[in-house]
Structures are given as C-alpha cells and as structure tokens.
C-alpha cells in the first residue's frame, strides 16, 4: 500500500482542518484489501483498501479522511445502535440506510475547494431533503428507491452505522481506543473548537457545544421545570409539623409531622402575538396543561390566559384542545404576569418567543418560561428569576 500517499493526504487534511488534527492523528491505519474504500470501526481504526489509495488523488483522500473521522467524532455508531434499539429495526439494509443518513449529516461541511467533494457523495439534496439536519432526522424521511440506488455500494464501516463488518478487528484487536479514550479525543477536539472557533464551520461549532451536553427533549425539560416548580418546598405535597401526623396517636409523647397535600395551582400565560406558530404553541400548551392536571388532579387548578399587548381572555381550561386564544401583534408579558398574579397561583408558566418586555422584579410565584426561539433571533433576553426552557424541535 502506498502509505506515504495516504499519510500525505492526512497531513493535507490536518492543514485544511486544523481543528480536527487530534482526531485525525488518533486514527490507526490498518491495511485491508477486503474493505471497498476506506472504513472506520468504533475503536478508531481506519481500514484502507490499497487499490482505493492508488485510484484517488491526495486531495480526494484527504476529504475521505475528514469524512471518516467525522463519523467517529459524531458517534454515528452509538447513535445507529440507539436508533436500531428504539425502532426495533436492524439488518444490513437498515444499517446501510444509517450509513447514508450519517453521510448526509456530515457531508454538508466536510468539503470545500481544498478538499473536493467526490461526485458520488451523499448529500441531503440527493435524498430530496433539506440540508443542515442530523442523521436521525434523515432516517425518518427516506426509504430505498431510485434516489438511493447510486449509494448501494456505500460503506464507511461499523464506525458509521454500528453494524459489524467482516474485516473488523473487534475490541480485542490491537491499537483500538477504549470508550474513555474515545471520549477524551472527542473532548479535546470539541474543547479546541469552543476555545478557538475561528474557522470551524457552524455545524462543527454546534457539535462542539452539544457533544457533552446533548440537548434533552424539551417536553421532558418543560415538564420537569413545571413539576419541580409545583412541587417545591411549601407547594403541593410535603411534610409539615403544623398538624400532628396520624401515627402520633400510637406514640404518646412523640411529635410526628403529617403529610399534607395541597394541590398546586398553575397559571399558563400564552403569548399570542404573531411570532409564535400555532403548532408549537399547541403542543407546548397540551404538555403544560397535562402536567398541571396530573399534579393537581383538579381541572379548576389550571388556568390559561392569552396575552398580547393586553390580557385578553382568561379561560379556566375545560377541554384540552378548546382554549380560545385571541391576539396577534405585539406582546407585553408584564401585563400577562400581573394578570396571572391576581389569581394567586403557585406556578406561572409563560409560553413566549421572548420578544417582550419582562417584569423587572421577581413575581410572587415560581415562574417557568417556555421559550420558542425564532431562527432569526440567535439570542433573546430572559429574566434571571425564571427557569427558562427552550421549546421547539
């Protein structure tokens, strides 16, 4: 095998993508005539076909280096396994679909003038899908057909989809990286990108921010925020020495606390200005009211009001899907919070896009803000006294 050419290509890749240097150098090359092109496994070995090295130019090979290491950095094998487990699908065909979807995720920012894109590379457009999304998104949206026919030969190895390959050396093989070492390499690369984001593309910056803080599903976060606000000390169910416990009768002379339950009341203020889409709003509202109901167990404890520049209707919510929301135009959450406080709730939930003035002082109730970030607004001011959950996605 022309190792010199292969290493020259890696050097070229490192010069063009300095932020991936640590990861590229961490790969261990294994000569493997059985591999169609170049493939990686989850232990960060890179299997290379000698014929493939002879066929391609150095810049082409450099592009493949970056492509393969991207699979590993983005943990496509782990995510592929997770997808297979979640959907109960597995097999060579499904793993090939994962490989194609993983390629679609990384190919939008691997190539440029210095690392030319191979003509047969998978791009989201070639699947008829929008760019800038992740593997799981693409997996849900395409099936095999005429569009995917050209990719039937594709094989980036077990590192790209988690499916075993005949040429893999396996965990016991030489020079593999342990889970902890893989994490350490990922961390060093991410740390370098976060520390000096200079020329890294946006996709890599996003990855670096999220790699050890994966975004959690917002429903879970919103739910837990509302739940913890509603169940905090002094709200809802807790122990109190204000009344003797029921067991105290059998223990004369012993003071026991009693469990007292006061269902928390939740007040949801909905921003109905034009900037929040109905679908997002609907799903967030369903989520919050369901939690409110589960906590209180009584319908009259959850109030929903819509708010734009003034507070319009206040409706006790009766049937989940039938809350009259009127409004449009600007928003003023100060009015919304003031109106909510009149009802003396335990918890206030504000669903808004953040394009609003906020009350300057902490309201007299625990506050959770469900924020619908707009793509155009990278950053919106949120009050420090509220727990903010970014909704969407």
């Amino acid at each position: 095998m022309d190792l010199e050419k292969l290493y020259a290509a890696r050097l070229h890749a490192v010069r063009e993508r300095p932020y991936l240097a640590a990861a590229l150098f961490a790969l261990h090359v294994v000569e493997s005539p059985a591999t169609p092109t170049m493939a990686v496994d989850r232990h960060w070995r890179c299997y290379v076909s000698p014929a493939f090295v002879d066929r391609r130019t150095v810049p082409d090979l450099a592009g493949v280096w970056v492509h393969e290491v991207s699979h590993l950095l983005r943990d496509h094998h782990g995510r592929g396994d997770a997808y297979a487990a979640e959907h109960g699908v597995d097999g060579p065909g499904e793993r090939l679909r994962m490989n194609i979807a993983a390629d679609a995720e990384i190919n939008d920012d691997v190539y440029d003038a210095a690392l030319p894109m191979p003509p047969d590379a998978v791009r989201p457009e070639s699947l008829g899908l929008e760019a800038g999304e992740v593997m799981e998104f693409y997996l849900r949206r395409f099936t095999f057909g005429a569009r995917t026919q050209p990719f039937a030969w594709l094989d980036c190895g077990s590192g790209a989809d988690g499916g075993a390959r005949p040429w893999d050396l396996g965990p016991a093989g030489a020079r593999g990286l342990t889970t902890e070492e893989r994490d350490a390499v990922r961390f060093r690369v991410a740390h370098g990108i976060v520390g000096a984001p200079g020329d890294a593309p946006d996709g890599w910056k996003r990855w670096a921010e999220q790699v050890f803080h994966p975004p959690q599903p917002w429903r879970e976060l919103l739910g837990s925020a509302v739940r913890s606000a509603a169940s905090a000390a002094g709200v809802g169910e807790d122990y109190t020495y204000q009344r003797p416990g029921r067991r105290a009768t059998s223990l004369p002379g012993v003071v026991l606390p009693a469990l007292r339950r006061r269902p928390p009341s939740v007040c949801v203020v909905v921003d109905t200005s034009a900037s929040v889409s109905d679908r997002e709003l609907g799903s967030a509202l369903l989520e919050v009211t369901a939690i409110g109901r589960a906590l209180g167990g009584r319908r009259d404890l959850v109030t929903v009001m819509s708010c734009d520049a003034t507070v319009a209707t206040v409706g006790r919510f009766c049937r989940e899907r039938d809350i009259p929301l009127v409004g449009g135009g600007g928003t003023d959450m100060r009015a919304g919070v003031a109106a909510a406080l009149e009802r003396r709730p335990d918890v206030i939930v504000l669903l808004t896009d953040g394009q609003t003035p906020w009350p300057s002082a902490r309201p007299a109730a625990r506050t959770v803000v469900g924020l619908f970030p707009r793509p155009s607004e990278k950053w919106v001011a949120t009050p420090p006294w509220a727990r903010v959950v970014r909704v969407g996605g």
């Binding site: 150098f25 390499v185 803080h213 913890s228 959950v389």
Partner: protein, 399 residues
C-alpha cells in the same frame, strides 16, 4: 381422607421449595465489569454513591451481590416511603423538655447498624422522595448522623435513583444533595445478564491497594487536582445552570475533594483509566471531569525535558494524537530555551518518531524546529532520516 390431601399439598410445597432452591443456586465469577469496579472503588474510598438506572435493571440485585462479596450486612431503606423524622430522628418529649431538651430518637435500622459497627446502607428510590425527606437525608449522607446517633466509619452508603425520564413522579434531586454523591450511571450489559440467567453472575472484588504506593498516590492526586484548578479557577465552584445538569454531579470544593480521593485510590489500586473516568465524571460532572482527565493524560505523558535528555531511549507514546502532543511540547521547550544541544536532541527525537510511527505527524513539528535554527548551527547529519517525511510533505503541498 382430608389428612391425605394435606400431606400431598405439603409435599407439593416442599418440592416447590426444592425447585426454588435449585433456581437460586447461582455461582459467581470474577469478571471485569467497569461499573462494578467503579462502584467497589467508590465504596472502598468511603464516598457515598448514587446509582442512576432505569427501573428493573438490577440495581438492588447488584447491591445485594456487592454486600455479599464484601461481607457487609445490607440494610435497605426505601427513601420514598419514609418521613423526614425517620432520618432526622423522632422527637421524643421527655419529663422536662425545657431543661433537658427533646432528644431525637433514631429508627431501629440505624441502631442495628451502629451495633453491628459495619454494613452497607442502601437508600433506594431517592429521586422519588419528597423534598423534605431529601433535606433530612442530607444530614445522613454528609454527617452520617441519624437523630442523635453517628454511623460508625465501617458503614458505607449507596443510594439509587431513577432518571427523570422514567421516574413515575420524580422530584428533582436538589443540587446540595446531588453534590454529595458520586453519580454512576447503571446500565445492564446484555451479555452479563444472559450469562447470569444461565447461573453465573459477575463478582465484585475489592480493589487491592498497594501499600508501597500510598504516599505516591496521594502526591499524584494532589498534584493533578492542584495543577488543574490553578489553570481553571473558574471550575472550583460552578452551580449547575443548564437544565440537563440539574440533579447530577457538579463541581464544588467538596466534590473536588472527593475527586482527589478517588484519584488517589485509583492510583494506589492501579485501576484502569476507564473506571477512574467514570468516577471522576460522576463526581464533578462531565465537562470538568473530562478536562481533569485530559490534564492527567498530560501528567502521564513523558515530559519534554525527559525526552530531550534521552532522545534515543525515552518512551514515545504509540497513539498518534498523544505522540503529536508530546512532540509539540518538546518543540515549545526548545523554543523557550534554544541551545545547540537541545536543538540537536529534538531532531534526533523527530527522526525516531518518523521511523517508528506515522510520518505525517512529524511534519509540522519539523517545520517549526527548522525555523528555530540559528545561523551558526549546522544542520545535523541525521536530517537524512527525515527525507521520507519531507517528500510526504511535498506531496501534501502539491495537493
């Protein structure tokens, strides 16, 4: 007649008991299991552990096994069905409370633990305990006090909790309580479960501490944590802000102290880096933990001065990325104190690196080193050994 039926029934039950005994007759084997190793090391280091795992994954079974292996009596207390007074002590009103005060009587399990002098206290379902119970548990976990009793040093504390997603009615763990635990994610390994159902479960082995290495281990751990926090003072104390980190580990002086203890134990026991990584990340959080481990990696790499002193014999790491980091550190050492001898030694080292590993990672250090040349210094003869690297670099430039 009725007597006959009863006899037959008794027999049936006896046979059932025999069958149950056969089913319960399982063997254990020593098997390297990272999470079990991490748990035993933390228990040995006398730090409270919190196991996070989905319901039904065998946390309790694992604990029972651990207690049996370590020969400690197991006391299980299900936190979510207790009242705060069960942990803070029951106030017992005596004859003259104004003069004598009101003593807080401990519950029976605590009394038994103190009598035994040793044991494993397992607090189950911590995340579903109401806030007031969690607050009462703080004192138990931190000060090891239940009411007026102090648990003896031979008692180890392990707790279990269900992650937020799967807890039926989970309260979040409050940050003060979360900060006192080493958090371990407990997952099941299908292979281990299958083998266990076949009758053989893995066995925990207490880490074998090497008496000769104790002082060295303490010095190493102190140096590592000190060096790291000197460089990153912002991480000494950082309350969890992001939503996903709530209820998990976060860095504070207390948890750094715990991390230091774990590093010392892992060093003295010679445990794998993987186990240590799991423990440190579970003590101070993922980000700070990974950074600290990256610092440990740097401590473990051969220092630039060692390599310059013996360029032909000093060990070079095998892994490409570590090797590159070492070469970079050597070049910056030469740049800081450029002398002819050091410059030559660096060339010798680069030549060796080019011959013993992938040559592409030698190119950048070689270019930098060449730029450090003074006029009166001749190019060393061994530069020929880098010829392959030069042609490789040319091919990459021509690309």
């Amino acid at each position: 007649m009725r007597v006959m039926t009863r006899m037959r029934n008794d027999d049936q039950l006896g046979t059932a008991a025999e069958l149950l005994a056969l089913l319960g007759d399982t063997a254990t084997e020593e098997r390297r299991d990272v999470q079990l190793d991490a748990l035993t090391l933390a228990v040995a280091a006398d730090l409270p552990v919190l196991l996070w795992g989905e319901p039904g994954i065998g946390k309790t079974a694992g604990l029972t096994q651990l207690a049996a292996d370590l020969g400690l009596p197991l006391t299980t207390v299900i936190a979510s069905v207790h009242e705060p007074s069960d942990f803070a002590g029951l106030p017992v009103v005596g004859d003259d409370p104004a003069v004598r005060g009101v003593p807080m009587a401990p519950p029976d399990w605590a009394v038994r633990l103190v009598e035994a002098g040793r044991g494993l206290l397992f607090l189950d379902e911590l995340s579903t305990a109401p806030p007031a119970v969690q607050a009462a548990l703080l004192r138990l976990v931190l000060e090891r006090r239940v009411g007026a009793l102090t648990l003896p040093p031979g008692v180890r504390i392990v707790a279990a909790a269900n992650p937020r997603g799967s807890a039926a009615d989970g309260w979040e763990l409050s940050p003060p309580l979360a900060n006192r635990f080493v958090h371990l994610r407990w997952t099941h390994d299908a292979a281990v479960v299958v083998r266990g159902l076949g009758g053989v479960w893995p066995r925990a082995v207490l880490p074998r501490l090497d008496r000769a290495r104790l002082p060295e281990a303490v010095a190493y751990a102190r140096r590592a944590v000190q060096a790291f926090l000197t460089a990153r003072p912002g991480l000494v104390h950082r309350l969890p802000g992001a939503d996903q980190a709530r209820g998990g580990a976060w860095p504070s002086p207390r948890s750094w102290d715990m991390a230091l203890r774990l590093i010392a134990f892992a060093t003295a026991a010679g445990t794998s880096r993987e186990v240590l990584s799991m423990l440190v990340r579970g003590t101070v959080g993922d980000g700070p933990g990974l950074e600290l481990l990256a610092g440990l990696d740097r401590l473990d790499l051969p220092g630039p001065e060692t390599l310059l002193a013996d360029p032909a014999g000093a060990p070079l790491p095998e892994r490409g990325d570590l090797r590159q980091a070492v070469l970079d550190s050597v070049i910056s050492a030469v740049r800081d104190r450029p002398t002819r001898e050091r410059w030559d030694a660096a060339w010798a080292l680069l030549a060796r690196a080019a011959e013993t590993g992938p040559p592409d990672l030698v190119v950048v250090p070689a270019t930098t080193l060449a730029a450090l040349r003074r006029e009166e210094w001749d190019v060393p003869a061994l530069i020929d050994r880098l010829a392959g690297t030069v042609s490789l670099s040319r091919r990459a430039v021509a690309a």
